[in-house]
Amino acid sequence: MSSYADGDVIPKASSRRVPRVRARLSRDGLSTVAFLVPLLVIFGLFSWFPIIRAFVMSVQDTNLVSEPTWVGLENFSRVLADPLFAIAVRNTAYFSFLALIIGFPIPIVLAVIMSEARRGKALMSALAYLPVVVPPVVSVLLWRFFFSASPTGVFNTFLGWVGLGPLPWLQTAASAMPSIVIEATWAGAGATVIIYLAALLSVPPELYDAAEVDGASIRQKIWHVTLPQLRGVLFVTLILQLIATAQLFTEPFLFTGGGPANSTMSILLLIYHYAFQNSLGGDYGMAAALSVMLAAFLGVFTAGYFWLTRSWSTSS
């Protein structure tokens, strides 16, 4: 029923609202309303309302004891003045950058090779995807042993075999973030490989035939046919990866807790600290302000993603 209550979304809702609502009810029928109730209640309470509340909270001083008070942009200025904010932005950007350098080319190379295989393609895609279904908490806790800084740690044992190391991995500010990127790439690359494999199937074979008539080698075919044909998909996965990396949380939270020396403090970790790890009670206003800033920044990418995929589905 709540849909009829907030009639503001319907244009031309005026003083004649009551009879109009009755007319709608009789046309749509009670059964239609009944089918809409779960969606309206759940989305209303747990999606639409919290979204609006995020914006409201960002300009309020909220605690769970007294009534919220209007503070204008004070939450935003307090976040911007926090020295941890600049550190968190820099760390998150650094993570996205490293994840891009390491995590972007690997799935492309794997997918191109796998798509040419005559046997074992199913086995290879299953192996590539396997890490994606392992719960992230399990992956992180497992990789903490791999990253053990002692000479008998798993990775340091490997390095010892070839006469290198031991490396400190998560223990120093310089190597903590790259270590996290390695684990995150392992955990996420498989999903991207599957997207590329599907995209490779949609490359028209005539293009390869035509390239061969012109005497193109295998390398030239990859460079001048395959990659340009994948351009759109590559751009979309790039955007999705940026959106995902900007919300980095579980890995630094469980690997390092943001340390050492704040070198893995991410934006979402900072939001969590503001709201839930404050000994003076949660500063929900600052947390909301930082969330809104990041959402606005990511909104640009998300809009680009939707615009791109929308124009595909209508053109093809």
Binding site: E116, A122, Y129, L201, A246, Q247, L294, L298
Partner: protein, 308 residues
């Protein structure tokens, strides 16, 4: 985040039709290229075995290796024999059995709420079409634009005190179950599937006297089994992977799922027993993946949904 088209477009070729790729038939006949390709593929397969399966095999191995051996010689295969007992210790003394049951409860409830909301909502928006169904669909779609992290704090305050109803859901499974239902992705995917069902069947059913409820229960749902299967498997795996949200809303250790308990158990648990607990925690998602591989590996769109 991705919006897949479940039905394959006429343009997309299936696996068997892909008669050629980058390497032409003429290339394949040349010995040098054939051998180079074999070596490349062998190396790729080896790489994927090592990287994709290797860490998980190490986890299984270490869960039945005595702790001291894992610490001193992590790569050695059972220098001093097995310790199968670690699995039993993890199961009973570390109470992995209880946390596994919590996880299953949380996943089952989240699944049910998601399916109910997405099927009834998708049916109303796609088939019954009330007056402002376009506005509503737009409002549902719009939530896809909002990154989940924006909702973290306001959603937390919402389950602390649900507006209008004034309920406190914290430390009940409802705090995880109900917000799980607000998945725009599910609604959009299921609505698109319903949009593609043949309208003639609906008309025929109406002529035969079927009301909206019978149409939904007897015709639309049975025809939607494939998409419901896909959405269900993804819903269960996504719940299994969830960490931050249950950490926030389930503070009572007796209610927490595996993902929340494991990090707190680690400092007080023997290493071998702990790795055994990790192994037990991964069994169900991996089994689901192996059984329903085609859902994950064939649909290019849905696999992206798990990342966010």
């Amino acid at each position: 985040m991705r919006l897949p088209s479940i039905r394959r477009g006429p343009r997309r070729r299936t696996q068997d039709q892909a008669d050629r790729g980058i390497v032409s038939a003429a290339d394949w006949r040349r010995g040098r290229i054939r051998w180079a390709m074999r070596i490349i593929h062998g190396a790729t397969l080896l790489f994927l075995l090592l990287v994709g399966l290797g860490p998980l095999l190490w986890m299984v191995k270490s869960s039945i290796t005595p702790t001291q051996d894992t610490l001193r010689l992590p790569m050695a295969l059972w220098p001093h024999g097995f310790d199968i007992g670690q699995l039993a210790t993890a199961w009973s003394r570390t109470h992995i059995d209880r946390y596994l049951l919590n996880t299953i409860w949380i996943a089952a409830g989240s699944w049910l709420v998601q399916i109910v909301v997405a099927t009834t909502g998708g049916y109303a928006l796609s088939v019954l079409k009330p007056r402002f169904h376009r506005v509503l669909s737009g409002l549902v779609l719009a939530t896809l634009f909002v990154p989940t992290l924006v909702l973290l704090v306001p959603l937390y305050l919402t389950v602390v005190n649900v507006p209008l109803l004034h309920l406190r859901l914290v430390d009940t499974f409802w705090a995880v179950w109900l917000p799980a239902g607000a998945s725009a992705f599910n609604v959009v995917v299921i609505k698109r599937f319903f949009d593609n069902l043949p309208r003639e069947i609906f008309d025929a059913a109406r002529v035969d006297g079927a009301g909206p409820f019978q149409l939904f229960w007897r015709i639309v749902l049975p025809m939607s089994r494939p998409i419901l299967g896909v959405v269900s498997v993804f819903a269960v795996i996504a719940t299994w992977k969830d960490y931050l949200w249950p950490l926030l809303v389930l503070r009572n250790p007796n209610l927490q799922p595996l993902s929340v308990r494991l990090p707190t158990l680690q400092p007080t648990t023997d290493l071998g027993v702990f790795i055994a607990a990790l192994t037990i925690s991964s069994l169900i998602p991996i089994a689901l993946f192996l059984i329903f591989q085609r859902f994950f590996l064939r649909g290019p769109g849905l696999s992206g949904a798990l990342k966010g």
